[in-house]
Symmetry: C2
Subunit: 306 residues, 2 copies
């Protein structure tokens, strides 16, 4: 079976990133950008997002060169969504310097006619009512995945719970899982989230890896051993991109396929964090992905021969 | 090959433990106690430690009933080592209420003649110069393992570095690994510790599992998915006991044997945290250990069939 297209909605942004290893400004970013560049390794990506007139032509060309379908990328009068963040010495703490919604403030996703039959849908981390608007515009997708964040869990819980009823796969980080479930034990939290609608919960734990809770079983995967981490921005979005990309490419949703998908998500995220912004992710080659997947298998297998 | 004996030095204590789920006083504890009860599932244990005249006869009998060799357990005038700790709501934070060294203050380990040919040695978490005193009293052991803590890393670094030169396997937690290596990236820290002497470094990460750094390769293992955790006290010591116990029972030190040993350590720790003090650990049956090992394999395998 050939790779099926993924309809993606999320943010495309210009970022300012400060880490102990350097800083960048006006860097191509946003959750949808990282997701698209990761998922594109496996399956076609159809982007729905908005940018301002200040969005660099080079960045638009980059998306096209990567084969991302940008017919759903609106360009409207105004400035792009801009985000600035500063990381602490060990890269585990992050301070948000600013979040300027700009053109994103009045965004309502419009799904082009040509996208409406997309069998895979990824509702990136935007307001749950916008995520719901996307679902209203598509025809019975095979798999709907959703990412969210603490802001929406706190301020739009009702809308989030409503859209989750139509979601198959929920991707979120450990803090968000605890917060959404109202449960400090992560295992209990993961299991409890299955009551909200999704039949699969994937919890991202950063340097501690990822965990799967599903009606079919559970899985725990450590992160690759990375000695050189320069910028964690976009790691979670790259993870989700690798995960959903692999599922769309394989056409499977079995337990073993989900395990491999989580491993590919982890592999894509591992490239992203090794350089600033999308610098490493955009240049990753298929043979590098395959090699790192094998490295992850060897690192984690209890029955490994070495 | 039959299981080889392990010479164990460490603390035997009476603990006060307060968690959101209850509290106990004068509970049989100490790092050597947890280690012994875990390791005993796999191999004979020869204990070197000290207690006061207030040490309950029942606790001594418990050790003997478990088959622990107590000829090296000194009883001296005075009170036992006593420790009190209180855990926060999510069990991830711990406050030490008090540490009364009592008879431990003037302790110098005396290794009985009958113990001196022990092929496996575990130097539990005590002052590094006492750990060195034990090594001076044994004859060319096959494998020496050592545990330590932030207190000794800060106050007895020179002595610790000296004894580490004669150690094959270093077990410590993630914070201690970072502190001892002077490196915030845990992967770099683990690799750097190999320069200190040990050919194998095992890093305990609590609910995030464990990691192996060795001259022969690396391994990462997540923790079992536990929905019911009541008291984390002794988890790290039970982990070390399961780890070294398995190595002493198998007689192997290959990469695959180290991976299995770490998994057995994780399994033993998982029982310990499910009840207060040693309550669950002392009652664990061989078939329960085997079942949980299999559960861990299924939870972590990328190629699992379900």
């Amino acid at each position: 079976m050939s790779a099926q297209p993924i309809l993606l909605v999320g943010s495309v942004a210009l970022d300012e990133i400060v880490t102990p290893f350097g800083e960048v400004r006006d860097a191509f970013g946003g959750s949808a950008s990282y997701f698209a560049l990761a998922a594109r390794r496996f399956a076609p990506v159809r982007l729905v997002a908005v940018v301002g007139t200040d969005f660099p032509e080079d960045d638009l060309q980059l998306l096209r060169d990567e084969g991302v379908d940008t017919r759903g990328l609106e360009v409207v009068d105004g400035r792009c969504f801009r985000w600035g963040g500063r990381y602490g010495d060990d890269l585990n703490s992050r301070e948000t310097l600013y979040t300027h919604l700009n053109v994103f403030e009045h965004f309502h996703p419009k799904v082009p006619q040509a996208y409406r039959d997309s069998p895979y849908v990824f509702l990136g981390n935007i307001h749950p009512s916008l995520q719901a608007e996307v679902l209203e515009q598509v025809r019975s997708p095979r798999l709907v995945a959703l990412d969210t964040m603490n802001l929406w869990i706190e301020t739009a819980r009702t809308e989030l719970l409503r859209v989750l009823r139509d979601v198959h796969l929920l991707v979120l980080n450990d803090q968000e899982a605890r917060q959404l479930a109202g449960e400090s034990n992560l295992v209990r939290a993961g299991r409890r989230l299955l009551d909200l609608g999704p039949r699969t919960i994937v919890v991202k734990k950063g340097e501690h890896g990822a965990a799967l809770f599903s009606t079919g079983g559970e899985f725990a995967l450590p992160a690759l051993h990375l000695a050189d981490v320069r910028d964690p921005t976009g790691a979670g979005d790259s993870f989700a991109g690798g995960l959903l990309g692999y599922l769309a490419a394989s056409g499977e949703t079995s337990g073993p396929a989900l395990r491999r998908a989580i491993a590919y998500g982890s592999v894509l995220a591992s490239f992203t964090v090794q350089d600033f912004g999308i610098a490493r992710l955009r240049n990753v080659r298929p043979e590098e992905i395959a090699a790192r997947f094998e490295e992850l298998r060897l690192l984690t297998h209890l029955d490994a021969e070495r």
